[in-house]
């Protein structure tokens, strides 16, 4: 185990625990309004201060962790699913199937992803589920290319010929033998993808078209903080810090896995 994996995993696990035990960790209801304590700074009663409606920032941050991780993980799950399926079909069948899918990948990559997402959200309503789906369907191309490249080299290996010789179906060969052997690089890509997806969600929420208040997410806490920037530094500092550390954690973990896999 190297330092990259350990430090990355520590961060990822820390935030996963925070998300899992959010109700136990937060001292207040994240939606509880307290007009008497508006925009108070960090104090023993309110560890990270309060926002412009007097809600406890620490509790909102803890619940925001849930939303941000959930969106990140599910979005990446969707993108990995699409990428693995399309990439393995392209790699295994080759010929026109490959051409069709890979040209589609090229087209998808031509769009600036973030503005594509903006445009789609403008048409749909910005709910958490929509955001997960949209991030997922606009970020699978990298995984598809990786899987395809792996399968192109794997399918010429003798054990795949052996599978064909014993009469295994294409579905069995792809799902039982090709994809499991091609998952290494995908795991790295998926881990890095979580970081990217959390960033996209935060950006969307910051712009007000992501997770909608009163549901707290790191991005929309930042967005609220923007309007009270001069008076309440904590409203920008803590969500920014949380996003920074989480993204760092997933990136460290991803790079760590990459180094360990490529070495062996």
């Amino acid at each position: 185990m190297n330092k990259l994996i350990l430090s990355g995993a520590a961060i990822v696990i820390f935030f996963a625990i925070v998300a899992l035990f959010a109700p136990l960790l937060s001292p207040y209801d994240p939606g509880e309004i307290d007009i008497e304590n508006i925009l108070t700074g960090p104090s023993p009663e309110h560890l990270l201060g309060t926002d412009s409606l007097g809600r406890d920032l620490f509790s909102r941050m803890v619940y925001g962790t849930r939303i941000s991780l959930l969106v990140g993980l599910i979005a990446v799950g969707i993108s990995a699913l699409i990428g693995v399926i399309l990439g393995s079909l392209a790699g295994y069948y080759g010929r026109w199937v490959d051409t069709l899918i890979m040209r589609f990948v090229d087209v998808m990559l031509c769009f600036p992803a973030f503005f594509l997402i903006l445009a789609v959200i403008a048409l749909l309503e910005p709910s958490i589920i929509n955001i997960m789906i949209i991030i997922g369907v606009t970020s699978w191309m990298g995984v598809a290319r990786l899987i395809r490249a792996e399968i192109l080299s794997l399918k010429e290996r003798d054990f795949i010929y052996a599978e064909k010789a014993i009469g295994a179906s294409d579905l069995r060969i792809i799902s039982r033998h090709l994809i499991p052997n091609a998952m290494g690089p995908v795991l790295v890509s998926v881990t890095l993808g979580v970081a990217a997806a959390i960033l996209v969600e935060s950006s969307l929420s910051f712009l007000g078209i992501g997770v909608q208040p009163p549901t707290p997410s790191w991005g929309n806490i930042l967005s609220e903080g923007k309007s009270v920037m001069g008076a309440a530094w904590w409203m920008l500092f803590f969500p920014g810090l949380a996003i920074f550390i989480t993204v760092l954690g997933y990136n460290l973990l991803g790079e760590g896995i990459r180094e360990n896999i490529l070495k062996t």
Binding site: D158, F159, Y161, A162, K164, I166, S169, R176, P180, N181
Partner: protein
């Protein structure tokens, strides 16, 4: 009676433009061991893969019990695969590194037979015992086995479908000399016990000479000579055959 008849087989790899196999005819009778010898890259393995339809060919036909395998619909071909199997050259690449030995064999029964889990397990064990491997191997990964043991797994996988005809594509050439003899003996023993038919591919005329009934010598995609084994050794007709013979005699001196 002819079990397998290959007619005018031709394979051109689009990238190289040269025919890897250039009009080859083979006929193999039931119970025969048919040798195929030639230097590496002469097209031996291509023939093996073409017969089993693992690669597509441009021309020719492969008649197995008078049915053309190359023109057979995909579904029917899958059923036919039971009776034609293959043992691969390199046991390090012919087993999926992520699948346990027991599961590699069991997969054959999952694909072809509708058996209960217990029956499958019994048949898996039975098949492994046929090649001299026991229960202890069921849960092991290919990386935990020696080259010879892996090749035994490869043989067991081929036997699992209970085939009549097996293509042995240089089954011993990547093994240690001491293990080569064991694997050859196992193959010969199985051939006698189950009355199997082999197409035995090798670059070593010595190995082929010791086990085959008839031999074809191959060079650059074509057969230069086909004759019963003793004849090839006693009176080789083609220059290339003589060269190969001299090479293998040097080897044994």
């Amino acid at each position: 009676m002819e079990l397998l008849k290959v007619k005018n087989l031709k394979k051109i790899f689009p990238k190289h433009k040269v025919a890897a196999v250039d009009g080859v005819d083979i006929s193999i009778s039931k119970g025969e061991i048919y040798g195929l010898v030639g230097e590496s890259g002469c097209g031996k393995s291509t023939i093996a893969r073409a017969i089993l339809r693992l690669i597509e060919v441009q021309e020719g036909s492969v008649l197995y019990k008078e049915q053309d395998l190359l023109k057979m619909p995909y579904r029917k071909m899958r059923a036919f695969r039971k009776s034609l199997q293959m043992i691969f050259q390199d046991p390090h690449t012919s087993l999926d590194p992520r699948v346990k030995i027991g599961e590699i064999i069991e997969e054959v029964f999952i694909i072809h037979d509708n058996l209960s889990q217990q029956e499958r397990r019994n048949k898996t064990l039975e098949t492994l015992e046929m090649v001299g491997l026991g229960e202890a191997y069921l849960g092991r990964l290919p990386s935990e086995l020696s080259g010879g043991e892996r090749q035994r797994v490869g043989i067991a996988r081929a036997l699992a479908t209970d085939p009549e005809f097996i293509i042995c594509d240089e089954p011993v050439s990547s093994l240690d000399i001491s293990v080569q003899a064991q694997i050859l003996n196992l193959l010969m023993d199985l051939q006698k016990r189950k009355n199997l038919t082999y197409l035995f591919i090798s670059h070593d005329l010595g190995v082929v000479g010791s086990i085959c009934d008839r031999v074809s010598v191959m060079r650059k995609g074509r057969f230069v000579e086909t004759a019963p084994c003793e004849e090839i050794f006693a009176s080789p007709k083609h220059e290339y055959t003589k060269t190969l013979l001299n090479a293998s005699r040097l080897h044994f001196r």
